[in-house]
């Protein structure tokens, strides 16, 4: 086989590869957008981590309030990631989103790093400027360029499942189990968790709220509920102080509201929880109904 012919074949294969790579990645991104609800205009956007992912069925919520609800959330994200997510949202999805449902939890201002490689969840959105920059800051050079050039490498098995769910319209929770009350109570007995308020995190939060305000959106800050034994591990006074901060913050902003869902009727009902911090299908319905009422 002559070298020039071989070389031409290789070049042809590479070009075919890049073309198909592009097409497949576009199809996959569309699936992700459908899952998050970003493929069409959204009136309400939910943002948070696994607590809101389990806490809300965005589709059902939308049916109740008769609006389009999107949920751009992912397990393990912290405030700085959520800032990138909201930036991504506002830069790319030209729509008149009216309200942001923003997840709050007691450790939102802690500086504890929940994941070393959470930036990897953003790879599919590398085409977006702020996301691209966000990843470049965190990933190694090799990693960054491989994912930049080979678009399909931005997806892994978890993302593919999300894509499938997006196309199949499967948004709800599969968590039908109820937590093991006895075991959880026993494990949490005597445990004390600190509510840490790192000033940089607070600043970051206020920056995010500023971004929401300047985009003419309202914010509903929702303190997501957790199971009673877990809730009681946080010092009552510190918790009250944290809530007061949010209430006070919202009172000074037009259209911002704080909703604390750690109320007895929810926290003490073990049937609503899958584990000590996540709601199951039943709990999801309860919370969705309550929040719908507030909107």
């Amino acid at each position: 086989m002559k070298f020039t012919l071989f070389f031409r074949k290789v070049v042809l294969l590479i070009m075919l590869f890049l073309a198909i790579d592009f097409v497949i990645s576009k199809v996959l991104i569309e699936g992700l957008n459908r899952y998050f609800g970003l493929n069409e205009k959204a009136d309400v956007l939910i943002n948070g981590s696994s607590m809101v992912m389990n806490g809300f069925d965005r589709y059902e919520l939308g049916k109740i309030i008769d609006l389009d609800v999107a949920s751009y959330s992912h397990e393990g994200v912290s405030l700085v990631d959520r800032q990138a997510m909201l930036q991504h949202f506002y830069d790319n999805y030209k729509c008149d989103v009216k309200t942001i449902i923003f997840e709050i939890h007691p450790l939102i201002f802690s500086s504890y790093i929940r994941s070393k490689n959470v930036y990897t969840i953003f790879y599919p959105f590398m085409d977006v400027d702020n996301i691209d920059y966000y990843i470049k800051e965190r990933a190694s050079e090799k990693e960054y360029w491989v994912h930049k050039i080979i678009r399909t490498s931005r997806f892994d098995s978890n993302k593919l499942i999300t894509v499938a769910r997006g196309y199949l319209g499967v948004f709800g929770s599969f968590k039908t189990n109820v937590l093991d009350k006895e075991r959880v109570d026993k494990n949490l007995h005597g445990v004390v968790n600190e509510i840490v308020i790192a000033p940089q995190k607070q600043e970051l939060f206020e920056e995010i709220m500023q971004m929401i305000e300047s985009n003419n959106s309202r914010a509903l800050l929702v303190m997501m509920p957790m199971y009673d034994s877990k809730f009681k591990t946080f010092p009552k006074d510190d918790y009250k102080e944290l809530c007061f901060y949010f209430e006070d913050f919202c009172s000074r902003k037009d259209g911002f509201e704080f909703l604390d869902l750690n109320i007895d009727s929810i926290t003490t009902n073990a049937q609503l929880f899958f584990d000590d911090v996540h709601l199951n299908v039943k709990g999801q319905k309860v919370v969705t109904d309550i929040v719908a009422g507030h909107l």
Partner: protein
Amino acid sequence: MLFTSINFLLFLPLVIALYTITPAKYKWLTLLIISYVFYLNIKPIYALLTVGVTVSTYTFTRLMDNSKKDSFRKRYMMINIVLILLPLLYFKYFSVINNELLIYLGSRGFNWIFPEMKYLLPIGISYYTFMCIGYTIDVYNEEIKAEKNIGIVALFVSFFPLILSGPIERAKNMLPQFRNLKSINLLNIKQGAQLMLWGYFMKLVVADRIGMYVDVVYNNLHSESGNSILLAVILYPFQVYADLGGYSLLAIGIAKTLGIDVMHNFKRPFFAITVADFWRRWHISLIKWLTDYLYTPLSFSLRKLGIWGIIIALQLTFLISGIWHYASLSMVIWGVLQGTYLSIEAFSHKQKTEFENKYGLRNRKWYLFISMLLTFSLFAISQIVGRTDSIADSALVFTKIFSPWGNLYLDLTTLLFSIVGIVIVLCKDFVEEFYPNSIRLFSNTNILIRYSSYLSIVFLIILFGVLDGNSFIYFQF
């Protein structure tokens, strides 16, 4: 570096380029230098060992060739075998036994004379030691003339595609090729790339994916229920096949791009109809080596014992095969199990053949299918001992499988991807086994089918392969 790393994908074209520009007379030298660079990149100090084994093997094979007296030749052979076995015995077995003794005697209040020995096994030692022993014996048996160029012997020992996980090659096959290295042939590169592509698929898409399920179950034997454990037991043989088979294909494919032909290591093992058949299809290079250099001489000297001679030889051979993998009681039991399976088959061979002939069973598809299932099951059972860390854990596996079951560990994503991967591999093997040459994908004459196949596999690897090693782990508060 691992063959599955990005670094290697950049390294290989460089190797091919260097090899191409080297004049034919010195191509072996290029390969030797590259192989040592490759090895030094992993663990430099152990390169001293490969050099030592090379020098020893070269010296004693040359001495054998220059000697006429059989007793001298035999002596040279024995000396070399002992010399090069010593490091293997020391690193692999002595340190393990030593540490076990330390713990055992320590728990009884005695002091052991040696301290704890913590060594990482020198990379490739199990492979190149066996290759050199084989070469030494071949020279003694006058199957091959001793190589005069020590550089070629050094290349034989350190050849980078083979040094990590084999296949365990023979001097008769490799030395002539190393002496006459040809220039790059684009057809070889294409064929090598095809083998590598399938190897990557098996390793990254199938083996590593199944591992995600099997590892979780085996790491939590005490809390997992019998049904999850049973599922893991059934999946594990596929993981090993895809892992070792895939890696072997990578090694063979890489060698092929350089125009070097290496023996195949697997031949559609799950279509074996007896355990004997299975061992002619699984880890072929190791079994062939053990057959030629251990089983044959052993069964030959025991041939007057008839069937019992065969059985003793079988047991010993597979015992060695077991501990070749690693030094543990579990692997001893593994080896004994294989030997037992084969012995039972040897014993019942005549009656079985008569029975099969009487009813024409060998022509019945359902009979063959059941035989394959049985053979697979026997292997899967033996792999339980191979996968667990201790005898107690192996017993636990059996206990749990036969006790009442609880909830199945259902990692749907992993299971789904694993099963699809297994089906694809089995389909390919099935076609190769029963309808070779009929359905061709990679070697189809139609360029559209060829390119579609390549690209499909590439995208399957990118999308479904377990690529980044560390999956996204996060901590809940």
